[in-house]
Amino acid sequence: MKIGTIDVKVSILSIGVFVFFTLLLVGTSVINPAIRPQLIWLIPCLFMLLVIPIALNYMSRRQYADLAPEYEREAKTVRVRLINENMLGKIVRIEGVVERVHLQFLNRPQYSVADRTGSISVKMFTSPDEDVKVNDIVEVLGQVIRRYMVTGEPVINCVVIRKIDRQQKS
């Protein structure tokens, strides 16, 4: 779904929650007619379960889209193995193969990206523009942060992740 220039994606979890409560509401109102007068506010509440994640996703994706040109300008290409605690806060660019993808159903995907020198965790706090899968060759732009903000090993807080053409790369 597009709002303006932003392609908004609703997570499977949000849709699942919406479907679950819709079925619950329909079932309950069929079994217990006393609940039907309450539908006047229950139905808008139900739709809020969908509207709020859409609004949040739109806002976060718009913010990421605004940040992308700055990251394109400032990012320094580094090898994965050389990323360390002295680089915290630096904007970096890495290229590598996606080895693992998880938490996509929350619209907060985490990737494990490896180049010839090592692998690193790449966290994204919104849905990416492209559907990135295992074995895709990608370019990542992001900031080096600690895994748990104040503690943990360095990871990349990803702002842009995009696939690179294998032939172009070789």
Partner: protein, 273 residues
């Protein structure tokens, strides 16, 4: 590396760690004594010691190079116990259980999260491990380097670790131009410069690249691989050059040791990979 100042810093941390159970249990036990002596007050206030102990534990966790998120979050619970009204028996049991928990966390912090950063920086000493062993093993050949060259080595290493590859290349070039630097260190600067320039321009490994000669093998932190895998050899040369410069900076420039201690994690990563 003086042994003198090492003890007070370590002891101070140890005393503070011991204060955690003393505060937590002491406060509740004092509350119980007062209550049984007839001074009956809200028992929740006996949790003040537990709250202070949790703040102390969080402080100790914060000063560690590796942060313990569990210890850092304990003041939240200590504060809740302090402000929430509760009956005498329930309050005492809860506070004693909380004091047990804080004691276990303090012991865990001591055993698993090592010495506090403040104490370590006070000692100005590397943590025991392969890196320290390597640095100590190279002290004789590298002790003749002058402090300026040592500073260049430390600065080049730090710039490289921060991703400032152009600066690392410039510093290496400046050091190569100096006289009186031992040949293996000059070679390390040259290798670092080559790698830094390639990384700065995001260029791949060239067909021919600088290497350490076989007679420098005794100074190498990592064994040189066979020539069958040029990618691995190329990376090993870079690691060895960086670690040799780290050691040179450590031995020749005492002023740069705090900076090198901050980069210790990166040096350990290079050595361990």
């Amino acid at each position: 590396m003086t042994a003198g100042p090492e003890k007070p810093g370590g002891k101070r941390v140890l005393y503070l760690e011991a204060l955690v159970p003393l505060l937590a249990f002491g406060s509740t036990l004092a509350g119980m004594l007062l209550w049984n002596a007839g001074i009956q007050f809200e028992i929740q206030y006996a949790a003040l010691g537990g709250f202070l102990a949790s703040c102390l534990l969080a402080f100790l966790a914060w000063t560690r190079p590796r942060k313990d998120i569990v210890a850092l979050s304990t003041p939240i619970y200590g504060f809740i116990f302090f402000i929430t009204p509760i009956d005498y028996t329930g309050g005492v049991v809860l506070q004693l259980l909380y004091a047990c928990g804080l004691t276990m966390l303090a012991a865990r912090l001591h055993r698993r999260f090592g010495t506090g950063a403040s104490a370590r920086s006070f000692r100005n000493e590397l943590a025991a491990g392969p890196l320290k062993t390597y640095i100590e093993s190279t002290s004789d050949p590298l002790s003749a380097i002058d402090p300026v060259a040592g500073h260049h080595a430390a600065a080049a290493f730090t710039s490289f670790s921060e991703g400032d590859y152009q600066q690392a290349a410039d510093l290496s070039h400046a050091a190569i131009c100096r006289d009186g630097i031992p040949e293996p260190v000059v070679r390390a600067f040259s290798i670092l410069r080559q790698h830094a320039e390639l990384l700065d321009r995001n260029l791949p490994r060239p067909l021919t690249y600088l290497t350490f000669p076989a007679e420098n093998a005794a100074l190498m932190a990592k064994p040189l691989p066979g020539s069958g895998d040029p990618d691995r050899e190329f990376l090993t040369m870079m690691d060895n050059a960086l670690l040799l410069l780290y050691s040179a900076g450590w031995h020749a420039s005492a002023e740069d040791r705090p900076l090198l201690l901050v980069s210790q994690g990166f040096a350990e990563k290079l050595l361990g990979s």
